[in-house]
């Protein structure tokens, strides 16, 4: 026993910087593209990286080396990268193996097993061999301070000190990928790596929820946020490739490698990948601020056979041009009248639609069945019109706004300005707003038809009298398809930037602008 303690104490005394000569990386060193790690070259994601922590440790028979790097500018960290190894040198494997099993598969807070907060887990375990990949979001404060895991708080002490000393700020939510490879048959060294980014810095839409559980990126919530889901999918594609590269670098045996084939196929098969955030590529040309581009989308519907279209004011607000997508053509529309208070607008395009809507003379009643139609999420999901059935759930909108009513028929971004009809095909409302899924489920709002009529009459525009007979679903389908149009708002790049910076804007901006 005395011999053991002697070895341990001696090991601790001799441990510092045992490997620093061979790794070419030290605290404060700057790296780009890659860094040298013993006889290996570890690739780094794009950008300039500063080593914020590098430690070497040796117990005489085990050695450990770990490096943590940060990418930052203007005192803001947008990414972390770490790489580390413990070389067991073939010593005490009988002791090590169950400890690795314990920490990887029975850890209370983290591990190579499916947890609710992991978006993707891939792992291979056979005997003493472990290969593991995880992709997830993290609440940065929780990871730094570990309020629920006090025993591990020391592991982030240097990082916390660096952030404090350098007066750095960090994102509240980051996306992370972590990998582990340990295969004594290849080399008795346990390798671990991780890469975390601020999604907003890489083109993702702004977060509204900042706790691990409530984050838009949590697997329980992400289906309510298609743009976040798309970003997470792209993140997974990028980082699984990194893991495969590390498997190659570490000379992982073929049958130890993780199968990412299903993930790798997605970019080819899934069309929404084409809209993946482009800001990750620093070589991408920067758009001229004066250039006019398609910025946001919404829905509108015909109320005359001469091309009068009703929509929301916020759909056309501040647009350099509003284009109506009709039967494959893009036709520019002019604005005839706006009502900012009630969020309504009437525009006109040179179109003679085959079908147009009549507007109900009566307001909706509680529990009345209604249908919402439009182009939620633009044309990302498909170019086809989407419909949702539901009922009227309140006769007032948010904040006792009696010019609106509440419904449970789903309305998403891009539905704005779309028709809400009854079974007779009459307009009973105009889709206008929603309460986020985090704050409450199935709470959507529409402007009442009486508000629309008052607005239109005041501007000398009248509507077709309402139908008194119920229509079949086939007839309603034809009316919705022919009478509803996809609207696109074109504006300057400078205006897009300005509006996106204003949190209160209601526009359904395309994800690549956010």
């Amino acid at each position: 026993m005395k011999k053991l303690l002697g070895i341990v104490i001696l090991g601790l005394l001799l441990s510092v910087n045992a490997n620093s000569a061979t790794t070419k990386i030290r605290t404060g060193s700057l790296h780009e593209d890659h860094f040298k790690w013993k006889h290996k070259k570890i690739s780094l994601p794009p950008g300039n990286w500063e080593t914020i922590e590098k430690w070497d440790w040796s117990l005489g028979f085990w050695t450990a080396t770990d490096a943590n790097l940060a990418r930052h500018s203007d005192n803001y960290v947008d990414a972390f990268y770490s790489f580390g190894e413990i070389d067991f040198m073939g010593r005490y494997q009988g002791y090590i193996a169950p400890q690795i099993d314990e920490i990887l598969y029975s850890g209370e807070h983290d591990g190579c097993y499916q947890r609710p907060e992991y978006t993707l887990l891939k792992s291979f375990k056979k005997g003493k061999v472990h290969n593991c990949f995880r992709a997830r979001h993290i609440e940065v404060d929780k990871v730094l301070h570990r309020p629920d895991d006090a025993e591990s708080k020391w592991t982030s002490a240097v990082l916390r000190k660096w952030i404090r000393d350098r007066n750095m700020s960090t994102p509240k939510i980051m996306l992370c990928a972590k990998g582990v490879y340990y295969a004594p048959v290849v080399r008795d060294t346990y390798y671990a790596w991780s890469y975390c980014i601020d999604p907003e810095k890489f083109g993702a839409t702004k977060n509204k929820f900042f706790a691990e559980e409530s984050s838009e990126y949590h697997p329980s919530n992400i289906n309510n946020f298609p743009d976040k889901k798309e970003f997470m999918n792209n993140w997974i594609i990028t980082t699984t490739k990194m893991h495969q590269q590390i498997e190659l670098t570490l000379k992982a045996k073929e049958h130890h490698k993780l199968d990412f084939s299903q993930i790798a196929k997605k970019p080819k098969d899934n069309k929404i990948k084409k809209t993946q955030p482009k800001k990750t590529d620093p070589t991408e040309p920067i758009l001229d601020d004066n250039k006019i581009i398609a910025a946001a989308s919404g829905t509108g519907f015909f109320v005359s056979d001469t091309g009068h279209i009703v929509t929301n004011h916020h759909v056309i607000d501040q647009c350099k041009a509003v284009k109506v997508n009709y039967k494959g053509d893009e036709i520019e529309a002019k604005t005839l009248a706006i009502d900012k208070t009630n969020d309504l607008a009437i525009i006109k395009a040179k179109i003679n639609p085959a079908k147009f809507y009549a507007v109900s003379n009566e307001d909706v009643s509680l529990l009345q069945d209604i249908i919402v139609a439009g182009f939620p999420l633009g044309k990302k999901v498909s170019a086809a019109i989407k419909t949702h059935k539901g009922s009227v759930t309140a006769l007032a909108g948010y904040g006792d706004n009696y010019s609106n009513f509440q419904t449970d028929a789903t309305i998403n971004q891009g539905n704005s300005g779309g028709p809400v009809i009854d079974q007779k095909g009459n307009i009973v409302g105009i889709a206008v707003a929603l309460i986020s899924a985090e704050a409450g489920q199935n709470i959507f709002f529409a402007v009442k038809s009486s508000t629309l009529k008052t607005f239109a009459n005041s501007n000398g525009i009248s509507f077709l009298p309402p139908s008194n007979t119920e229509k079949s679903n086939i007839e309603l389908g034809k009316l919705l398809t022919e009478g509803t149009v996809f609207l696109e708002c074109w504006m300057t790049v400078a205006k897009i930037k300005q509006l996106i910076a204003q949190e209160e804007n209601k526009k359904a901006f395309y994800s690549e602008h956010k």
């Binding site: 011999k3 400890q99 920490i103």
Partner: protein
């Protein structure tokens, strides 16, 4: 997690050195 693993391994190793009977099963024999 790497630091945590190392911490557990080293602490466990030190603990084994104190020869607590309850934890003897997890310890390395012969050190």
């Amino acid at each position: 997690m790497m630091k945590k693993l190392l911490g557990i391994l080293v602490l466990g190793f030190l603990w084994c050195g104190t020869a607590n009977a309850e934890y003897k099963d997890n310890c390395v024999n012969g050190v």
